[in-house]
Symmetry: C3
Subunit: 115 residues, 3 copies
Amino acid sequence: MNKHIEHCKVTAIVSCAALEKVEQRLQQMGVSGITVAHVMGYGEYSDFYSRDRNTRHARIETFTDTEKAEGIVQAIMDAAHSGETGDGIVAVLPVSHFYRIRDRSEVVLNDDTQE
Amino acid sequence: MNKHIEHCKVTAIVSCAALEKVEQRLQQMGVSGITVAHVMGYGEYSDFYSRDRNTRHARIETFTDTEKAEGIVQAIMDAAHSGETGDGIVAVLPVSHFYRIRDRSEVVLNDDTQE
Amino acid sequence: MNKHIEHCKVTAIVSCAALEKVEQRLQQMGVSGITVAHVMGYGEYSDFYSRDRNTRHARIETFTDTEKAEGIVQAIMDAAHSGETGDGIVAVLPVSHFYRIRDRSEVVLNDDTQE
């Protein structure tokens, strides 16, 4: 068992217009924790030339088992897709170790024991 | 020497109530740089059903030598643990390359030289 | 072809004073999407002892082909370097998978096709 590939972080940059829809979709899937932060950007994320600082995007992040990442990515793309520039991106990053503070212990695959 | 495993990023999502305690602990340990951002969330991070947007969490991030990561993780968990839902999570992500802008150079293990 | 090393995330923590210069440099290089968020910090990022919460830094993030990362890192360091404490850091993190929501598809090297 390679603990280094068990978890990953899914980061999505989506338009603020799509944020609520994405959140609802993830909740319906039972995704157990997401964080949301508002960010400014340009290029893939918004209109480069207008540089309208009020055209904000939202960054959604969640940590998940690697095997669930693909489903989460597809759900985000389904919910956030409009076909227009500014739809944003989704990235999956490897996570070496993952811990739940309430349990004060590292989370390993199929291990829900608490100390 | 594999430079690709020398550094990592420690990301913690903690309750705002625990933030100051975590910061103090990290400073006492001599952690040389952290960033803090306030985020919204649900699930592991806050009460899903209330969706109280004012129940914010804080994201703490620091880049560190991989060998120091475990100690930092334990310090964050000690400082942020209450045993309740919403205590948050800690994740360690691999970093391929790490640079200090002041030195304009990549930081390699045991290398504190400046250009 | 190993898809797991094709993309990476470049994260920079720079002083707010340097932010606009860094953004301009990245735009000139044709970097196709960045996000900016304001963060608080200490240590490498700001003056630890003053703990001036108004001394904010900016976090700049962009996802890129791995082969372009080194050029982006150098451009950020050139634009953000003052030689003083608080110049900040740049880190490159591996990305396992990268998707454009507009295309609803994973981005692979030299693959600009849309569904």
